[in-house]
Symmetry: C2
Subunit: 339 residues, 2 copies
């Protein structure tokens, strides 16, 4: 990459990008200009750091692009906005192949396309490892932004998208139970959940249109993220474990994970596959699903699963019990939370 130089790299990257209709000025000037017909813009910025959020031996460059874009675009959707644009700051070692940067860009562009957004700007620099800082912009289309603070006693709590898949995928990768070591279990979908999360972007504006009172994207884990909603709203959120029962794929992955790691080696971890899988569902982050509160009686489209309700009080409980000792998901430098 060093031989291309900064301008060559930007050129190589921008060649792979398509502008959407909102991009009035794209890459190549001092700044981009984006149409914001709503008269407001939703804006968020997130790191994606090698070694902390991805590993180049596990993730392809395209995977990293998808994941980087998903992190910020899901935050836009969680406000009730349609994602519209991405700015990407990429620092990389000089010996990173240019093909890696091109594939990264393809991943960014493909995830943007899923969300209806496009890459409108960025920066490049040299660093010892690959690091991205991605800014997502979105448009509210006349809707009020859905904050974390609006949940009210009596509201339903529902989720759109998967829970625990990214955590299960990471656990399998960490335990050496990737595709090669998985035996009969098809680990592909779970590992894809970790490497290339697919947030349900459309569910964000949909929830806002349905009158959602609070919303968050599940990036740190369901309990941790709903904890933010409960704290910001000054309410208690009660989840029903029966609504969160792990599916067969997660249970099979938990069995495989336990067989690879052995519960003796992990005395603090739960002993049964059911508990391991439920831990992934409750505390696994990075699925970038959307969790929202809705007024009681809201008729929800099928992609929203009711998982609990809001009452007076504080904190998050599961079957009326606090789950002590369940840390929030701290991404993967620290390994999966021991749900």
């Amino acid at each position: 990459m060093a031989e291309l130089g900064e301008f060559g790299l930007i050129k190589a990257i921008s060649a792979g990008l398509v502008r959407n209709a909102r991009t009035l000025v794209g890459i190549g000037d001092d700044a981009a200009v984006l149409a914001t017909p709503d008269g407001r813009v939703v804006a968020t910025t997130d790191f994606l750091l090698e070694g902390r959020h991805f590993r180049r031996d596990w993730s392809s460059a395209a995977d990293v692009g998808h994941k980087a874009a998903a992190r910020s675009l899901a935050d836009c959707a969680a406000m009730g906005a349609e994602p519209s644009a991405l700015l990407v700051a990429l620092a990389a070692p000089p010996d990173l192949p240019v093909s890696w940067a091109r594939e990264l860009t393809e991943g960014l562009a493909a995830e943007c396309a899923r969300a209806g957004a496009s890459v409108i700007g960025g920066d490049t620099a040299r660093a010892d490892s690959v690091l991205l800082a991605v800014t997502g912009l979105g448009d509210l289309g006349g809707r009020a932004p859905v904050l974390r603070s609006g949940a009210r006693p009596g509201d339903l709590v529902a989720v759109a998208g998967r829970l625990g898949h990214a955590a299960a995928g990471l656990a399998l990768l960490t335990a050496g139970a990737g595709p090669a070591g998985a035996g009969p279990l098809d680990t592909g979908p779970l590992i894809a959940g970790q490497l290339r999360p697919a947030p349900p972007y459309e569910a964000g504006p949909e929830a806002a249109g349905l009158g959602a009172t609070a919303m968050i994207d599940v990036s740190d884990g369901l309990l941790a993220d709903l904890g933010h909603v409960a704290a910001a709203s000054g309410v208690r959120i009660s989840l029903a474990s029966a609504r969160l029962a792990p599916g067969d794929r997660l249970l099979a992955a938990a069995r495989l994970f336990l067989s690879k790691t052995g519960s003796a080696a992990r005395p603090a971890s739960p002993a049964t596959p059911g508990e391991v899988a439920l831990g992934w569902v409750l505390t696994g982050g990075e699925d970038h699903s959307l969790a929202a509160a809705f007024p009681a009686g809201t008729r929800l489209p099928p992609r929203w699963r009711v998982i609990g309700q809001v009452s007076a009080g504080q904190g998050v409980v599961v079957d009326d019990q606090p789950r002590n000792g369940v840390p929030g998901w701290d991404h993967f430098a620290d390994g999966p939370a021991s749900g």
Copy 2:
């Protein structure tokens, strides 16, 4: 910083920040919401990396905040926009003192206040060195964006703000001729020019209002940045060295620099203080001044100095001569360009 954790750090940082009237939702939710009354938003993102763009033994935390904000906000101004907001992604070693992060925030906030903007969001992460990725947002207030591509033969070329000060300050620091080693010369203003550049933000919208045909912020050096304008516009830009003559302070700094480094040790560098200082003016980056083209006959306010004109052709010439061998400013990892 490790003991505070991510949420504690965000709390400590956001406590030092003031929201401007455009900030509809600030730090603390999935994303910020910014009013964009123009119906368009100007957006740009830039790295500021320890070791490459700043050194913690030279820059205070507040300096780094000023510089990080200035980089992105000047890009907004160079489009003709009023800077309105900043998103700041900060990665830092766990042992970085919390006070450093607080002072950084004060610097960010103070530079935002100079520009009329405020910090509306961000992200934090752990890294081996301090790195920032800053996104600037701006509002065009009904003006057309001023691109790099609009300069036309016959236009005047003018600059608002200082040239060569940041480069001179860096040269002095590099040569050990900082305040302690400077003798009678007051190096303060030049070193401040490097550590805490002060872009003339208001000149950006002003230029757009005056009908500027092209504009750029001088971040890589006057010749390099006007080279981008010349290339994008398909024109030649001719500068007059008489209009760019270094002032007494730059000349004194050049003499001091040469006395510290010795021309024998730098056979490739120019021999005279005048040439060294002119090199800083022409190729020094990071002043974040604004350079713009205006239709001939435009009456320019005093802060704009006419330095040349646009003609048919290509490239940038000084007194009708190309300046061969003048590299663009590649920030400070590579030292000052040997103009």
